[in-house]
């Protein structure tokens, strides 16, 4: 992008001490890119005066106006398709569809168009668009508003799938997503946004640098080093895994936690390096268990080196829609209790 201020593309800077919520970090990334390029715009349901149901666009309409922060009708096929068309013409749309659960109504535009145009054109046409949405459960919103589904998008080729867990990553990954010439599905878990009306996750507010920076898409983060067991996970489950790791440290169980940060590309090297050290792999995933991320991670480790793992397990949503009633929902979510049990089994 020639319009970008090259000096603004700092590789990951020091986080400093200023703290933001994840929601605020996302807004800041969008605003930063919108200031540098008129091609960047936001479109979606309730992104304007409401500021996004999960506060992903709060305040942006005040600075950029309703022309560039555009509320849409509930016409997902039309406005997501429109994002594709604008991207094909070189604009950099950020399209939001509130909940990932709603994508069924417009999936064709996503997996047959947004994700395939670059391929079909033999690499001649780019679709530099960001499709942003909320994921995750844990607050009894029922089976049409609580899914994670990153495995679905990851399974269909042609789109990058980014899933931040911290405010720092949320800003840097959003900046990278906007600048990416590929279509990027950017999925934030409601539980990491730092929303005032949700159960507080202490790590949903954290240090975020003022300047613009990219967190490269496709590079996992070792969120905690350990030597006994590797937990590979993403999103809210990173925080659960870190909590469990801290608890178990007192008992001499040393857990390494890998935050994937993106599902596509999947940073298999970082996982492999960790498992080579710990020999025990647990994948924690708030998406459904079968045919998804956990199977992919475990399979790719086994294929890379059949002797790598002495132990593999997964803690996911068993193959059932997310139930409404609290006790049922928490029985199927990858809770800290389930993660802790899995770690204990791994080291026993």
């Amino acid at each position: 992008m020639t319009t970008l201020d090259e000096a603004g593309i700092a590789a990951e800077p020091d986080p400093g001490t200023r703290k933001l919520s994840t929601a605020k970090a996302i807004q800041e990334a969008i605003a930063g890119e919108m200031r540098t390029s008129d091609d960047v715009f936001v479109m979606g349901e309730d992104v304007g005066s409401y500021g996004g149901i999960f506060s992903s666009t709060t305040g942006l309409i005040d600075e950029f106006g309703p022309g560039r922060i555009r509320d849409t009708p509930i016409s997902e096929t039309a406005f997501i398709g429109m994002g594709i068309g604008a991207a094909v013409e070189g604009m950099r749309p950020i399209i939001e569809l509130m909940f990932v659960d709603f994508f069924g109504v417009c999936m064709d535009q996503i997996y047959n168009h947004m994700a395939k145009i670059h391929f079909f054109s033999g690499g001649n046409v780019r679709v530099p668009m960001v499709l942003m949405t909320a994921t995750g459960g844990g607050y009894s919103d029922g089976g049409q508003h609580s899914q994670s589904l990153w495995g679905t998008f990851a399974h269909l080729p042609g789109m990058k799938v980014v899933v931040p867990s911290t405010p720092y990553d949320a800003k840097g990954l959003m900046t990278a997503a906007i600048r990416s010439d590929d279509p990027v599905v950017y999925m934030f878990h409601k539980g990491v946004m730092g929303l005032p009306w949700m159960k507080k996750n202490p790590r949903s507010i954290g240090p975020v640098p003022q300047q613009r920076y990219e967190v490269p898409i496709g590079k996992a983060r070792v969120a905690r080093e350990g030597k006994d067991v590797t937990i590979v996970t993403l999103s809210l489950s990173v925080h659960h895994a870190l909590d469990v790791a801290e608890n178990l440290a007192g008992e001499g169980i040393d857990v390494e936690v890998i935050d994937l940060r993106s599902v596509v590309p999947l940073d298999r090297e970082t996982i492999q390096a960790s498992v080579a050290k710990t020999r025990r792999l647990i994948v924690v995933d708030e998406d459904y268990e079968s045919f998804g991320l956990s199977g992919e991670v475990i399979a790719s480790m086994t294929i890379a080196d059949p002797t790598l793992c002495s132990y593999a397990a997964r803690v996911c949503v068993p193959d059932v829609p997310l139930p409404y009633a609290r006790d049922l929902e928490y029985a199927v979510l990858p809770t800290p209790a389930r993660i802790e049990l899995a770690v204990r089994e791994a080291v026993s």
Binding site: E45, D46, G48, S49, Y50, I53, D71, T72, P73, I74, S75, E76, T77, A78, D101, F102, G104, V105, C106, G138, Y139, S140, D141, G142, G143, Q144, H145, P196, W197, M198, K199, P318, D319, V320, P321, P323, Y324, A325, R326, D327, L328, E329, Y330, A331, V332
Partner: protein, 335 residues
């Protein structure tokens, strides 16, 4: 509102009773919903967690339409389903138990407030905008194939009328003359987006012409006018005349969901004056169809039914975590 001399007093009272029952119910749910979410509103806390979309102000739509239906007819609602469920006669006890996430609920605690399914009254709803419309076609098709005069009523908001499923459903229903009545509740808002910022025509009734079916719009949120227009549409469907699109200009008195501060919606205080229930009560009082004593009795009866349903829900057991994997299939397929 123009009085309908043809409307028997008993029908008018029934319409009023239904509206009062709905409002009484939703006020009680509202109280329960907020009771244990403080300090600091936490959407996931309390006896009723999750999102809560209430329909205060939209009672005339539900009462006016469902008055023409029996439990044999189908109703599909959207994410704001209670008024329609109540007007269609869904049993308050299991409905409430579902909203409280109990084993005695319509969905044994699996579905929650946006996913109410009642085979006894052929009632269903969906949290995905406009996606409750196509299934109504199938219910209508089943009624048609089996030679009955039953109808399916598919209800959605004016926001939903901009979604693909709405247009596909209208075309197909008209093409195959399915016994379906499409109802659009135009409450002016799709969450924070006003109708004139989302819809290219002032009235969705106009869109009916594009699909070759009659369209009608009822202004003023008046229950008797809804009743009249719905009567024609339902009769037409029962007689094999095919679908109708009926839009009612109604009113969302409260937020999109509970906890919605509605900063995007100026002039809220004006809205309260238009509350259709006191408006209708005054009209019935003036026409001497209703006396203040009747009114008190109607309210008391509604209060009793609602209190019973809520007590039933609260006394019912919560589902056991060990049963979380049930009901994915009728017969087990899990490996």
């Amino acid at each position: 509102m123009t009085p309908h001399p043809s409307l028997p007093a008993e029908v008018r009272l029934d319409l009023y009773r239904t509206m009062v029952l709905i409002r009484t119910y939703e006020e009680a749910i509202l109280g329960e919903y907020h009771a244990d979410k403080s300090p600091g509103f936490d959407i996931g806390a309390g006896l009723i967690p999750g999102e809560m979309h209430l329909s205060a102000g939209q009672e005339p739509v539900a009462a006016g339409i469902c008055a023409h239906l029996s439990a044999d007819d189908a109703v599909t609602a959207a994410h704001r389903p209670h008024h329609l469920a109540i007007a269609h006669g869904v049993d308050l006890r299991p409905m409430t138990a579902e909203i409280f996430g109990r084993t005695t609920g319509l969905g044994r605690g699996r579905g929650g407030h946006m996913h109410l399914f009642d085979p006894a009254t052929h009632f269903s709803c969906s949290g995905i905008v406009a996606e409750g419309l196509p299934p109504a076609l199938g219910q209508g098709f089943a009624f048609q194939q089996r030679g009955s005069d039953r109808v399916a009523v598919a209800v959605a908001g004016e926001g939903a009328a901009n979604q693909g499923a709405f247009h596909e459903a209208l075309n197909l229903a008209a093409l195959w003359k399915l016994p379906v009545v499409f109802v659009i509740e135009d409450n002016d808002w799709g969450i924070s987006v006003p109708r004139d910022a989302s819809t290219s025509v002032p009235s969705n009734a106009e869109r009916a012409a594009a699909y070759g079916m009659p369209g009608a719009r009822v202004e003023g949120n008046a229950v008797e006018e809804v009743w009249e227009a719905a009567g024609l549409a339902v009769e037409r469907a029962r007689e094999g005349g095919g679908p109708t699109l009926l839009e009612v200009h109604t009113l969302r008195l409260w937020g999109h969901f509970e906890g919605d501060a509605q900063a995007y919606r100026p002039g809220l205080d004006v809205v309260a004056d238009q509350d259709p229930i006191p408006v209708y009560r005054d009209e019935l009082l003036a026409a001497e169809v209703l006396t203040p004593a009747d009114d008190a009795r109607i309210r008391e009866a509604a209060g009793g039914r609602v209190a019973d349903a809520i007590a039933y829900a609260k006394e019912s057991p919560v589902p056991a975590a060990a049963d979380a994997l049930d009901y994915v299939f009728v017969e087990g397929a899990r490996s």
